[in-house]
Amino acid sequence: MRYRLRLSIRYDFGRPIGAGRQLLRVCPRELPDIQHASDCDVTITPPPLERDGFRDFFGTQVIQLVLPSGVSKLRIDMTARVHRFAAEGAFDLSAPLSRLASELTEITDLGPDSPHHFLKASPRIPDVPQIAEFAARACAGAPTTHAAVESLGRALNAHLRFDPKATEVDTPIADAFAGRHGVCQDFSQIMIAGLRSVGIPAAYASGFLRTLPPPGRPRLEGADAMHAWVRAWTGIEAGWTEYDPTNACFVGTDHVTIGYGRDYSDAAPVTGAMRLHGAQTGAHSVDLVEEPG
């Protein structure tokens, strides 16, 4: 599937803020056999004092910028072209859960895709005993790691209610889990905590999701969204698989990936001083428009 992707983020701080340094992770990344991204262009208004870019440890493109002081409104516009390849319906080659630990010790690699980064607690995903209990029940009897991922994802999707008003970006996963509600970020981080608790390395994926209109209705502009889901390691043979607990499905061509991290803190679309100015109101809109093949 080929897309033309457009993201627009607006901040209104209410009053002028001091100079500040920001990191943006908004550009879709290159993923061999999964996604090809090109022509990514990011415009920032007003223009920043400084701007440059680098790739972070996990390979995500990061834009680094310094805003001048006295800015009270900020706009970030990104456009790109993305080609998402449909995954072939494959056999489940993943390892049984009982063998995952020993397969893991055979991996002696610390590159960005090494499962070792994603097994232990991380800044936003501590060990939560209640989530671990839930995950142990959900994964019990799963014949393979792949099946365990799906069981946990479905169980969480049924257990949690999607509610954009119930949590904030900083809500601890234990609170979201106890309240049984949240947004894609909460669903994903809770699922990651559960997967790690049963010994499955799991990463946080950040990106975009195409929202298909109900049958017979026109597509609404800006209705697509920034999104988060889960990437789980299922053994040496099968490698990584991606699951979207908010929508209870494996990830396909409706998802577009920006990058991966241990949790939200590694992959947040916007990091920096803007977060410190609590009064801001932010809004974003996403368009993923299909292009002819």
Partner: protein
């Protein structure tokens, strides 16, 4: 020199004859045969020859030095963080080490430093150690001290590590062991210097006779090495501190002052176009070398710990851009991981081609099956703890347990289920060294911390160090947080040692530092320090005048005392208590400001300030209104005058002094204008003019200049308009104008800053006024214009 039998020296002090090592434990002073080791013989003779009273006097010299110079150590976990400064827990008797033993220690530690550098370069570079199976991947990837944003960033200097410390202990066989590697941001080198000065006071005769290796050369070389790492000679070397609430802030300020480096906090710094900058009163100035005393994850809230309030957004970006040398590289904390000690002995032959010259404490990472069976076979010798913890087993009483205390089945289960997260270390028996307890010598376990720095040609080892002495014979109670104490370490040479000083031997061309390096935060604190001290003095003068009149005239003084009310209201003081709360608060605020600029404040002035604060607090609970209060306040006033003397006679006329002075002049101008507006008002009661003269400390001058009774004109003339009277308003404003004129960017070829213009206008108004036109309303107006100067100053220099 042969050892003298300990039993022969019974006559002297310190109970030397009764000193006996603990059974089965090596002792530094006595050999296994009970003989005094040769290196200790002069020390033993010295102690043995002292009468108890003389011993007490000599040891007290060291205590006085430490108290007077304000050496402190902050204790964590106290509810009142601000008052938890603890007197330095000092153990008077140094640990004596033979120069030949020392050179073996030194070369072994240099080898270990090279090993750590290689491991660091691999962990933040190609990761061969993990990919070749020499280190378990999980130990690195699951380690919070491994900072992913730093992976792949090559250090500008070519080296990751520049300043290290090792914690050593001596086992029962007399051999040294490494107990811990301090690689993150090692502390203690400054305390080692202070310990040296104190110990040299306590043992002044002996110190002069013994050939004790000096410490200054180590610091001089490291200072020069850091200065030489700059490419631009106008850029700076700075020390980054977490701030005054940190446990070892005293040391950060001390080292900054000793080496002449700028002490900065995260908020003083900014990154512009990839270059680290410090905000000074003259704008942003580049920093090329930063010696951090801050754990790495706090250094950059943007790319490291987002919860850090003491970091600098963009610090990692500055390192990525390559314009900064960080001592040590961010991420070096991973080398302190306890489990790493299980691997270092095997990594040394691989990375260096040689075995470790000094072993580290025997360590087993329980993710390995062979290690698990080793632990199960000898659980009584093993301390079990978190594999990723840092520091020594002795410091970690919280998370460490003796494996032998667990049921064997429990231990086996724990090792099996959580082996990768556990590490076992052999329980160490430390050697003991003599320490003085109630005037008598007693053996106590000790460790020593040894410091290494990298200079141009390689590693240099500080010839001496920092010994930690246990409070009890239990080796686990050695940390200072557990009541342990610190002692000096003397490396004693058989030959005379050359004296060293901080002055470099080879002459370099004289370079005057530009005057603009003062961090804006430091300037702000100096300004407020000047204000708080002066305000305290003003309050004391007002109060003394009040209580003197209360004592002398009793009820008859009521109208005059009532007339003073607006003056007390201005400073928030209730005069009825002799030493009111507002005065104590002012003194605390002064101490707070001084504490934040300890690197720029003389130790004498510091102890004077501390002394006033203590006196005032003592008096506040005791004095009664009237004569008693007046006398107490006179005593405080004399002490305050002492501070002014120390500051103004001793402080170099640098930019920092100007801010301090501006604060003082500003506050005094505020005080005198209010006093005159109230007390020289035509409506003021009988005696108000004399009161004004007294508060203005100008009784004698008034008598000499006018030889008449006070009139409004004479008082205004003397206290408002006379430029020669150091208490007059005019004198303060003249001073403000002079000082402000010399501040950076105040006067750019005749173009005045808003601050410089306002103070010039104020000056002109006062210079052209005469006593009849200077009404109370006019004085109030001057006072508020002076008040506004403070805001202009803040806006211009401490934004």
């Amino acid at each position: 020199m042969t050892g003298e039998r300990a039993g022969q020296i019974t006559a002297g002090g310190a109970g030397l004859g009764a000193y006996r090592p603990l059974p089965g434990v090596a002792d530094e002073m006595l050999g296994a045969d009970g003989q005094i080791r040769p290196i200790w013989s002069r020390m033993a003779a010295h102690l043995g020859g002292l009468a108890p009273a003389d011993l007490a006097i000599q040891m007290a010299r060291a205590d006085r030095y430490l108290r007077d110079s304000g050496v402190f150590y902050r204790q964590y976990g106290s509810a009142q963080a601000a008052t938890a400064d603890r007197a330095w827990p000092f153990s008077h008797i140094p640990v004596l080490l033979d120069e030949d033993d020392w050179s073996q220690i030194a070369s072994a530690l240099i080898q270990r430093a090279d090993l750590l550098e290689s491991v660091m370069a691999d962990l933040y570079g190609p990761n061969h150690l993990v990919s070749s199976g020499r280190l378990p991947a999980g130990l690195v990837a699951g380690n919070p001290a491994w900072l992913r944003p730093m992976v792949g960033i090559r250090p500008r200097s070519g080296h990751y590590l520049h300043f290290l410390a090792f914690e050593l202990g001596r086992g029962p066989d007399g051999k040294w062991w490494v107990l811990a590697d301090r690689v993150q941001a090692p502390s203690g080198a400054g305390y080692a210097l202070e310990n040296r000065v104190a110990t040299a006071r306590a043992f002044s005769d002996l110190y002069a006779q013994e050939n004790v290796q000096r410490l200054a050369g180590f610091f001089r070389d490291f200072r020069d090495a850091l200065l030489n790492r700059r490419q631009d000679r106008d850029s700076r070397v700075a020390i980054l501190t977490p701030g005054p609430l940190n446990e070892t802030y005293y040391e950060h300020a001390y080292i900054a002052r000793y080496l002449g480096f700028t002490l900065v906090q995260g908020e003083d710094l900014d990154v512009r176009d990839g270059q680290l900058m410090v905000r000074t009163v003259a704008g942003l100035r580049p920093i090329e070398v930063l010696w951090r005393r801050l754990d790495a994850e706090y250094a950059d809230p943007l790319e490291l710990d987002p919860a850090s309030r003491i970091g600098t957004p963009g610090m990692v970006a500055a390192l990525r851009a390559g314009g900064l040398t960080m001592v040590n590289s961010l991420g070096s904390g991973i080398l302190e991981t306890r489990a790493l000690m299980a691997f270092l002995p095997k990594l040394a032959p691989h990375l260096l081609g040689e075995k470790l010259a000094m072993p580290n404490v025997a360590t087993w990472w329980c993710g390995d099956a062979a290690a698990r069976s080793a632990v199960l076979s000898a659980p009584d010798r093993m301390i079990l703890g978190d594999a990723l913890a840092t520091g020594m087993p002795a410091d970690q009483r919280g998370d460490a347990t003796r494996a032998g205390d667990l049921e064997t089945a429990d231990l086996a289960r724990r090792l099996q289920s959580d082996g990768t997260g556990l590490v076992a270390q052999e329980a160490v028996t430390l050697s003991t060294t003599p320490t003085l307890l109630q005037g008598r010598l007693a053996p106590r376990p000790m460790t020593i911390r040894v410091f290494l720095s990298r200079n141009g040609s390689g590693w240099t080892v500080m010839p001496g160090g920092f010994a930690r002495i246990g409070a009890t014979p239990d080796p686990a109670a050695i940390a200072m947080q557990h009541g342990g104490s610190a002692a000096d370490v003397w490396v004693v040479s058989p030959r005379p040692v050359a004296p060293v000083s901080m002055v470099t031997g080879t002459p370099t061309p004289l370079r005057r530092r530009s005057a603009s390096g003062l961090p804006a935060r430091a300037a702000d604190n100096l300004f407020w320090l000047g204000r708080y001290v002066e305000r305290s003095e003003g309050i004391v003068r007002l109060l003394r005048a009040y209580h003197t009149r209360l004592a002398e005239a009793g009820p008859a003084s009521a109208p005059l005392l009532a007339a003073m009310k607006p003056l007390f209201d201005q400073v928030g003081v209730d005069p009825k208590t002799g030493v009111p709360k507002a005065l104590l608060e002012n003194l605390s605020a002064a101490i707070g400001s001084a504490g934040r600029v300890r690197d720029r404040f003389s130790p004498d002035a510091w102890s004077a300030l501390d002394d006033i604060d203590r006196s005032a607090r003592r008096m506040s609970s005791r004095v009664t209104p009237g004569d008693d209060a007046a006398r107490a306040l006179s005593a405080l006033l004399r002490k305050l005058a002492g501070i002014s003397g120390l500051v103004h006679e001793n402080m170099y006329r640098f930019v920092g002094w100007r801010f301090l002075t501006i604060g003082r002049l500003h506050e005094r101008a505020m005080g005198i204008s209010a006093a005159l507006a109230v007390l020289a008002d035509p409506e003021a009661p009988e005696g108000a003019l004399d009161l004004a003269i007294e508060i203005g400390d100008s009784v004698l001058t008034h008598r000499r200049r006018f030889s008449v009774t006070a009139s409004r004109d004479t008082v205004i003339d003397l206290l408002a308009l006379d430029p020669l009277n150091p208490r007059a308003l005019r004198h303060q404003v003249d001073g403000l104008r002079d000082q402000i004129d010399m501040l950076p960017a105040a006067n750019d070829h005749g173009a005045l800053s808003p601050l410089a213009r306002e103070v010039l206008l104020l000056h002109a108004d006062l210079a052209t006024a005469d006593p009849t036109t200077l009404t109370s309303a006019e004085l109030w107006s001057h006072r508020s214009r002076i008040g506004a100067l403070s805001e202009l100053l803040t806006r211009a220099y401490f934004p």
